[in-house]
């Protein structure tokens, strides 16, 4: 499952051809005609803001022979010309009826007798949804809205994207995306970040040297109480977060104590958060959004996409989030912590990468390939959580329920189910129900 080429080809079609995928952030294309090159599964895509200020996502593949029409990471353009035969695609709606349409073909009048249907042969375009700065896309016109797709996980994504003072949105990216190739199957990082809390031994060394920005034990600041794994069995998302509580009751230990400026900033923002959201419920967590996007809502505050390259190779793209209007001095403190923690130079992530690469390599072995993995931790211990719509939990962080939830979703996509079935609007015969604690599972 982690090394099979045929399964990988099926994943590319069934999962990456249909799911909502993170392709970038609006701060990367602030002005009309700005573009970046991004990825959706194994495809290169152009993410651009048109002259008419619309964000569009186009397959970066000429309709004539398939060459890339955009060959740089970023830039500014209202038209993309293929270097092979000169077909030109425009994103300017004063010139074409839809962004990405074929606008010019050398020899159109003479060699094609003016009969080539330009509207028919434009760049393939994806469905796009911008959400609090993040840009998502799907190839599937039938897919539900991004909000329906995310379900209860949206509240956690909000906790990463919202300003520390409680304002909706208000975050931006630090400039620069860390892109790095890891020789692992993309499912290892995806199911690591979905809520694998039992891999502490991996990070022994990072804990021993006290990466903790308060100078205390561990690699991160002390967490508020009520930290547990929550997963959405119907949607495949999951992560580690906090039991929702009234805003006034949510504990906030002091953090970044070695950096008084940052510590004071966070304390001031937390006070504002409390004031702005008084009377509301505090939702906060991190995890994986099915299939391949993971995020941390606070330490370090990052988004990451695990782009599949092949069954045994993944290209990770790490983006770093920050309050857009935070003073530079504060941004710099967080930035330093992010870089010492994450990415291939990060003292924590280095050891994760070692795991994923090694697990993939061993799965290639003759015996290793066919050997089942054990996912029994916490199996049958989960119960619905009334405070988190659609989620189950077992009251602790250490459980493999989320990995099983993710794998269940993987299977549903791989079976090629309709969106009605995927969104559980209709029942599927003989469908496997996610195993819950006997007392809550109802009479069989």
């Amino acid at each position: 499952m982690f090394v099979d080429d045929d399964l990988f080809a099926q994943e590319v079609r069934q999962i990456f051809g249909r799911a909502w995928l993170l392709v970038g952030h609006e701060s990367q294309i602030p002005n009309p005609e700005d573009f970046i090159q991004s990825k959706m599964g194994t495809d290169s895509v152009i993410v651009t803001r048109t002259r008419q200020d619309k964000v569009v996502v186009l397959l970066n593949s000429c309709r004539h022979r398939g060459m890339k029409v955009c060959r740089v990471d970023e830039g500014k353009a209202r038209a993309f010309t293929c270097p092979y035969h000169g077909w030109t695609y425009s994103t300017d709606e004063e010139r074409v009826s839809r962004p990405g349409e074929l606008a010019g073909v050398p020899g159109f009048d003479v060699h094609y007798e003016g009969r080539l249907d330009k509207a028919e042969w434009g760049l393939k375009s994806a469905r796009v949804r911008a959400y609090k700065g993040t840009i998502w896309a799907t190839w599937d016109e039938q897919a539900p809205t991004l909000e329906a797709y995310l379900g209860g996980m949206l509240k956690w994504l909000d906790s990463a994207l919202d300003h520390r003072n409680g304002d909706s949105g208000g975050s931006t990216l630090l400039v620069g995306v860390q892109k790095f190739r890891v020789r692992c199957n993309w499912k290892f990082p995806a199911t690591n970040f979905v809520g694998d809390a039992s891999h502490a031994v991996t990070h022994n060394s990072a804990n021993m040297i006290k990466l903790n920005p308060s100078g205390k034990d561990g690699r991160r600041d002390e967490r508020p109480s009520g930290h547990a794994a929550f997963g959405w069995p119907d949607l495949g998302h999951g992560g580690l977060g906090f039991l929702p509580r009234p805003e006034e009751e949510f504990p906030r230990p002091d953090t970044f104590q070695q950096f008084p400026a940052a510590s004071n900033y966070l304390r001031a923002m937390a006070r504002e958060h409390l004031r702005k959201r008084a009377g509301g419920i505090h939702y906060q967590g991190k995890g994986t959004i099915f299939p391949n996007m993971s995020f941390h809502e606070d330490q370090p505050r990052t988004l990451v996409v695990h782009h599949p390259v092949s069954a045994t190779e993944t290209e990770m793209w790490r983006y770093y989030l920050i309050d857009a209007d935070a003073p530079d001095e504060i941004k710099d403190i967080f930035r330093h912590y992010y870089m010492t923690y994450s990415g291939p130079g990060g003292m924590t992530e280095q050891d994760d990468i070692e795991n994923w690469e090694s697990a993939t390599r061993q799965s290639l072995g003759g015996m290793g390939q066919g050997l089942p993995f054990n996912y029994a931790q916490g199996l049958g211990e989960s119960e619905p959580c009334d405070l988190m719509p659609g989620a189950v939990w077992c009251g602790r962080t250490i459980t493999e329920q989320n990995q099983l939830i993710w794998l269940k979703r993987w299977q549903e996509f791989m079976e090629g189910r309709s969106w009605d079935q995927l969104m559980h609007r209709v029942e599927v015969e003989h469908d496997a129900v996610f195993p819950l604690k006997r007392s809550t599972a109802g009479a069989k």
Binding site: L174, D328, D332, P344, M347, D351
Partner: protein
């Protein structure tokens, strides 16, 4: 003539220092290597973007708040050494075997009047890193170092590393570049 002699001597002295420093890393004498860094060192390896020819001057992200592969001072570099010494840093356990090549060393500028005296150098580098049974990686690029005079030798006050890879092609950067 005398100026030329002086310049040659300085180049020789600086190259001896940088070769020795590279050797300390390859020999895993990390604590000794830390002594070659000034207390206020800034050590940064920039993210490179794959841009059009016209945009090349900005291909490296060098802004003060831009994300890098590393951008830190002595405190966290020391933590990296401590992390390797825990023998539980699995990305470096078993440890990487590294060889460093420095070429094209040039002195860009000197400021003998400063206290301490300063020298800015540029060199090309290649680091080969071999790990486990069959992991073998190379990182190529150039480096601009600022060296400050210290007790008859030098200390590195600033290191800027410019690599050729826009996407890191070697999993982790757990060795000290």
């Amino acid at each position: 003539m005398q100026d030329a002699m002086k310049a040659m001597l300085q180049l020789h002295e600086v190259s001896e220092f940088l070769y020795k420093e590279a050797e300390l890393l390859s020999d895993r004498k990390y604590e000794e290597w830390l002594d070659t860094l000034a207390e206020d060192i800034t050590y940064r390896m920039f993210v490179l973007r794959n841009l059009s020819g016209k945009a090349q001057p900005s291909e490296y992200l060098e802004g003060p708040l831009d994300i890098s592969w590393f951008d830190e001072g002595k405190e966290t570099i020391t933590k990296r050494v401590q992390q390797i010494r825990t023998h539980q840093h699995w990305a470096e356990e078993p440890p990487s075997r590294t060889t460093r090549y420095l070429t094209n060393l040039r002195i860009l500028e000197t400021d003998s009047g400063a206290e301490p005296a300063l020298v800015r150098t540029r060199c090309n580098f290649m680091v080969n890193r071999n790990r486990n049974e069959a992991d073998d990686h190379c990182l190529y690029g150039h480096r601009i170092d600022l060296l400050a005079r210290h007790q008859g030798t030098w200390r590195i006050r600033e290191r800027k590393i410019y690599i050729n890879q826009s996407t890191i092609l070697m999993g982790n950067l757990s060795f000290i570049v």
